[in-house]
């Protein structure tokens, strides 16, 4: 009886129907496994909750679901034994939510029946494992092709030599493995011959020798990430001899310079993606010698590099299939932009975010030739005006993504043009702009809009937002941070018009009340809810959200002074998917915090300036909440709690961050923006 209630309460209609059908006729027995699996594929695609409902119908469904499941993402390492025995066919094990993975855990994974089917394992956020655990994993899971060891800062060369035993490995991420040196990389190069992707980002112990050996031994390599490695020109010839190399990232390789690149006979012909961000010593000379033979290059990233001049643009002219250029943070000249516009014919993506020197003249002459442009990022191009916007909107009518945060000289009339001409927009970032209700009304014509950011737009009001709510039914993401003109009616329009909304940020919209939250509780897909600094919100509104939005996983109610323990209790009861919560400056006390500890998913809490919180209550909550990964606390608690407690929690995988900011009073939005501009100037 109870189980049935659960299914009805949480599952979709289809789940309910199958339940009754199975009970009556057991038609599922007639279906082959393939068909049932195909049904389950669709079910899993819609929501993981539906799969769960399915598995709880009866024993046979439970077994079918166990055999069907391919991907596991457990929250706790202590669940591993049971879920691994339940799901024998798991191909991908994502342990990124388990901070504590020991050698014993890995040995367990390698012992279970899923060891043969396991193809991919993600250990990027896990710590506490070592050489021996990895060795038992790779020796027993013979079909492993992907291992993510990013952030494993404790691993040494011995661990790398264990990885080298995975002879079938194709993808390996070693980001931030700072203790691994050339010796370990050498083992991997010799052992894992089939490698197609390897990432060495921030592996500061790896030098030319290791990279060269990888390039010599792993001929199948498609993707190579050398970001921030202390490599020099020495390793380049070997890399460019790789026959299939498509993706090369040289971000922040300060040891590579023009001289080294000039010495290369020819570039890499198979290259499709090249990232040379933050390479201070490479100018257009080196670039042109590197990409001289790369006729297939599609994506080029030169962020924070040398200035974009005519010479640099000219070096791009031999790239017929170039589709994407990212020049973020570069110094840009108008002639350079003009030349890019005329030389690169089929650009689909262009990013000029935070570029200095972007003018109406340059940008207009660039976009005027790019009819196919899909994504444009002109964040913080503070010199452009309505002239640019007019050109962009008249030429690039297929634009799907436009980011123009802080284009402060663009007048409010210009935004009307965006809505009039670019009907295919899916993503629009208008943060910190002069847009007003007229502009919003015009933008509401973009029926495909799914992400809209209107933070710090002080000219908009409920009127404009109601147009969005009325016409943009596919909206999933809405940011109204510090747009003080928004009140309850605006949110009401969104809540009723955009049922798919997953993320909403209404921080510092001070006039928002509980009624907005009660409306939003209808949006069952809501995952992220941020309402910082809304003093009118009470526990009542929060309870409504908790009850209605069961998938909520991120909640920020900092500075909502009226939220108290009464809000926490329903939250702990209903929001069992909550992962991250910020409670600073609220009226929550020990009781509220302790009740939150019952949420087994909870991983990150921020509790600063809670007046009702005592040291003992905090300690009890921390101990009770077993899945915590990150806790932000006020420094004053540090001497009040015993050191042994911290050691215990850190052994569980929890990290503490200490803050000692003073209690801050809130400013009004206009005041805040003036202050922001002062800082910017």
């Amino acid at each position: 009886m109870k189980r049935h209630r659960n299914a009805t309460a949480t599952g979709t209609d289809s789940a309910t129907q199958t339940t009754s059908a199975a009970a009556a006729y057991n038609l599922f027995d007639l279906l082959s496994d393939e068909i049932v699996f195909a049904i389950l594929d669709f079910l899993a695609a819609s929501s993981p909750l539906d799969t769960k409902s399915f598995s709880m119908v009866c024993r046979s469904f439970y077994l079918v679901e166990s055999r069907h499941r391919r991907i596991l993402r457990p929250l706790r390492h202590d669940h591993l034994p049971r879920i691994l025995s339940r799901y024998p066919n798991v191909a991908r094990l994502d342990l990124s939510l388990c901070p504590r993975i020991t050698d014993a855990s890995l040995a367990l994974v390698s012992r279970t029946s899923s060891a043969d089917s396991l193809r991919s394992i993600d250990l990027s956020r896990s710590r506490f494992f070592s050489y021996s655990g990895l060795l038992s994993l790779v020796l027993n899971c013979r079909n492993l092709v992907e291992i993510d060891l990013s952030n494993a800062t404790q691993l040494r060369d011995a661990a790398a030599s264990a990885v080298a035993e995975a002879k079938n490995l194709e993808k390996l991420w070693l980001g931030r493995c700072k203790l691994i040196t050339d010796m370990g990389v050498g083992c991997i190069a010799v052992g894992c011959k089939k490698l197609k992707l390897i990432s060495f980002k921030w592996c500061l112990g790896v030098t030319d020798l290791g990279v060269e050996l990888i390039a010599v031994k792993c001929k199948e390599l498609r993707s190579l990430d050398l970001s921030y490695l202390p490599v020099t020109n020495e390793c380049l010839p070997a890399i460019l001899k790789l026959q299939y190399l498509e993706d090369l990232v040289l971000e922040g390789c300060f040891g590579i310079d023009d001289d080294g690149l000039a010495a290369l006979q020819h570039g890499c012909k198979s290259l499709k993606m090249l990232d040379m961000s933050s390479c201070q010593n490479i100018t257009h000379v080196g670039l042109s010698s590197l990409i001289s033979g790369a006729g297939r290059l599609e994506q080029l990233t030169l962020a924070y590099g040398s200035s974009v001049t005519l010479a640099l643009a000219n070096s791009l002219k031999m790239l017929p299939s170039l589709q994407s250029i990212k020049l973020d943070g570069c110094f840009v000249t108008s002639s350079g932009l003009k030349a890019i516009g005329s030389l690169c014919i089929s650009l689909k993506e262009l990013s000029l975010s935070k570029c200095v020197g972007v003018t109406d003249d340059g940008l207009s002459s660039l976009v005027i030739k790019q009819r196919d442009l899909k994504k444009l990022d002109i964040t913080c191009c503070r010199k452009i005006t309505d002239v640019s916007i007019a050109h962009i909107t008249s030429t690039c009518t297929n634009l799907a993504s436009l980011r123009m945060e802080s284009c402060t000289l663009v007048p409010r009339e210009a935004f009307v043009l965006i809505g009039q001409r670019c009907h295919f927009l899916e993503e629009l970032d208008l943060t910190d702009n002069e847009i007003d209700d007229e502009g919003l009304k015009s933008i509401s014509r973009c029926a495909k809009l799914s992400s809209l950011k209107l933070g710090i737009c002080l000219n908009i009001s409920d009127d404009g937002l109601s147009h969005i709510g009325a016409y943009c039914s596919k909206l999933t993401e809405l940011d109204l941070y510090r747009s003080a003109g928004i009140t309850d009616p605006g949110i009401l329009a969104i809540a009723s018009g955009c049922p798919d909304i997953e993320m909403i940020n209404m921080s510092y919209c001070q006039d928002i009340t509980d009624s907005s939250l009660i409306c939003l509780s209808k949006c069952s897909k809501l995952k992220t809810f941020e309402s910082r600094g809304c003093p009118l919100i009470t526990s009542l509104g929060l309870a409504a959200i908790a009850v209605g939005c069961r998938q909520l996983n991120k909640l920020d109610i900092k500075k909502c002074h009226n939220i108290s323990d009464a809000g926490m209790l329903p939250l702990s009861h209903f929001s069992q998917n909550l992962r991250q919560i910020t409670l600073s400056y609220t009226s929550v006390t020990d009781v509220g915090l302790l009740s939150l500890a019952s949420i087994s998913c909870l991983q990150s809490i921020t509790v600063l300036h809670l007046k009702g919180l005592t040291a003992s209550g905090l300690a009890a909550a921390l101990l009770a909440c077993g899945g915590l990964i990150k806790v932000k606390l006020h420094a004053s608690f540090k001497p009040l709690l015993p050191q042994l407690l911290f050691e215990h929690l850190e052994a569980r995988g929890c990290v503490f961050e200490w803050r000692d900011k003073e209690f801050q009073a809130e400013l009004d939005p206009q005041c805040w923006k003036l202050q922001l501009e002062d800082v910017a100037q």
């Binding site: 457990p74 404790q154 060269e212 209605g548 009770a624 077993g626 569980r652």
Partner: protein, 489 residues
Amino acid sequence: MDPEDEICGDTWGTKSTSSNSLQQNSADFGLQQQLEKKWDNNSSPIMDYGFRIGQEQPPFHGQVNCQINNSIQGNDNNTNDNKPPEWDPSAMLNNLSFLEQKIHQLQGMVHLIITRKGQVPSKPDEVLTQQQQQLITADLTSIIVQLISTAGTLLPSVKTIGQFGQFTPKPAAVSPEQQQQQQSNNSMDVEHNYSTTEEHEEHEDGETEHLPPGSYEILQLEKEEILAPHTHFCTICGKGFKRDANLRMHMRGHGDEYKTPAALAKPPTVKEVGSAAEPVIIKRYSCPFSGCKRNKDHKKFQPLKTILCVKNHYKRTHCDKSYVCSRCNTKKFSVMADLKTHEKHCGRDKWLCSCGTTFSRKDKLFGHIALFQGHTPAIPPDETKTVVALAPTDDPAAAANKLADGSGLATMDFNSGAQALMDFKSVDDPAGAAAVASCFSPLNFDSCNFVGGFPEFNRQGFDDSEASFSFLLSGGSCNYSSQKTGGES
């Protein structure tokens, strides 16, 4: 031809006619070479003279060769003879090497003339050939004159001549110019007895064929010469020394005349002497081992630069490795210095390959691995141990147990109430965890009441393992849903 030539001619005239004056400053090679240079510049005053020598040259060529060969043979025979040392041997040595060079030059020239003559048998252009001949003979003359004058300086003093008479080569084959210097030839033979290895070089017949005059010349030492432990011998007692300086120190014991600063001074090297006016002819060496790449008969012959190179090369490549490293007992060397160098680093080769080979440098190891299939870098075993040791304890419960005094705090009832909700399972020891909480003795909040106040929060059958999609499985008695907004309904 120009005024300077006149002066040069005069200078030469005075010097060449009086060999005695040259003899006085016997070590003054700079002057002689200067002279030679001047001779090269002006050929006109002695044109006729030179031409005459040029015509005579075929017999001359044979004579010189013969003479030198004789002298070398004689020298071999008489290595151990004691000679009264009345002159400075090192100066003599220099003179001899100089002579040797000059003879080589002569050989080259003469050979050139022969080939020219062979090429132009019908003499189509009389004038041209004449001019060439004139030039060559002028050079030849200058060289011969130098040869004579230098040979003259080799005469140390009158009283030694008689003693060396027995070694005199046959005078019949000597040209008139050299006949005048008969004495000097004698002394040259004597000098060979005390020579360093440099004097033992054999001259190759074909060396000038593929090398233009003025290019380097190839010298080849015999195996015995290369392996000889001593290269400097005392002329009095015959004791051998490795170093020239040691010999000079030794010589002091044979009498006061060896204690003069001049006798003890380091003899100037050929290079120093020659650098003054004329570029020294570059010498290169050949390894006597036939088939070796360093042997002059090899197709891709690569000459050795110095005698030391010859010695080290020969020992390293063609001799047994008799010096064994006492530390590792595996590495063997044939040159002592190599062993010394190895011993400095032995045991400190930290770059290890899986095949057991060690390298002192990482790049060498990686070059080795890149070259061979299946070889991998070997991680030192101690590293794996330390990693294991550094790993934190596997059991969080152990950490919790450290905290617990064993006092099971039954009063902490919120545990039992919220057990299903709160994940004390991860701690594995609720009592231990509770004991931590009990450190804060005034637990002011009433945990029992708190949990008891919400009995509906108990969720039986909550499957801990499915927390990844844990959603509410609560009973219908949730007060909140009925109390509050009715959001659930």
